[in-house]
Assembly symmetry: C2
Homo-oligomer: 137 residues x 2
DNA sequence: CCGAATCCGCAGCGATACTG
DNA sequence: CAGTATCGCTGCGGATTCGG
């Protein structure tokens, strides 16, 4: 082991500066909403019009009441969804997209289109990878 | 409690059918990638060109070595990123976007634009909500 | 320099039961 | 019908250590 190699590199000079682009680029704010399991699904469903709590629950199969309440509440908090409560005797609650919510929904729809167009390519890549590198990931 | 109200509703007739739209709509596949904390950031950084492991780590401030390895590996698995290893003596690894990865990065960039344009509106809505409904969420 | 392996806290989410 | 409260599990992700 007389070979001294101090782990020095020829220096690629690739010394970038900041976080991701120029500034703080608040992608995270949006992605934290889109990141959870349900927000997007609810958003998409509301694209089709006003929905009541139960209708949403029915339209988003896997979701639990709890997660639906939590999700809608977060969306309302961010000003993406508006909630209207009718104090009838079985209570009724309507959810609708705000203008902001609609514009986000459109942006998301574009991403959905992308995923539909590429889902097979991705599935194929995954299959390849899992075949060539079994046991990883 | 003689008042019998079986919790029946006037029937809104809002009986949607399937999961989210028409079919399975594989938004989830993509969102599961975008959902985690780092994939998008790495993707965006790679938009600027080929990057080595260390350069990525430097460009994505908060990330740990572990999460960078995990993230890149997942991206490679999905065929969004290509990995080139040079068996030099300190090893060198380059990451670059595949064509698929580039197209996804563009779609994501649109979403980033949206978030930048609306971040203040959202922040405002949140502040309002937290002020009017303290203790929730 | 690049990465694998281990340990561990904590948030997300589901299941269930209860209220108005 | 719409929503709250509590519990328990699971997996992401951070810190750290070891290896080629």
């Amino acid at each position: 082991m007389t070979d001294v190699r101090t782990w020095a590199l020829p220096a690629t000079g690739a010394d970038e500066h900041g976080p991701c682009g120029d500034e703080d680029c608040g992608i995270r704010d949006v992605l934290d909403r889109l990141g959870d399991r349900w927000s997007v699904l609810v958003l998409v469903e509301l694209t089709k019009g006003v929905r009541r709590f139960g209708a949403l629950k029915a339209a988003v199969p896997g979701i639990s009441q709890r997660m639906l309440t939590v999700t809608t509440k977060r969306l309302v908090r961010d000003g993406l969804v508006e909630r209207t409560v009718y104090p009838t005797i079985p209570p009724q609650t309507d959810y609708r997209l705000t203008p902001t919510g609609e514009s986000l929904a459109r942006a998301v729809a574009d991403l959905a289109d992308w995923s539909r167009r590429h889902k097979e390519v991705i599935a194929l890549a995954r299959a390849r990878f899992d075949r060539d590198h079994p046991g990883e990931l």
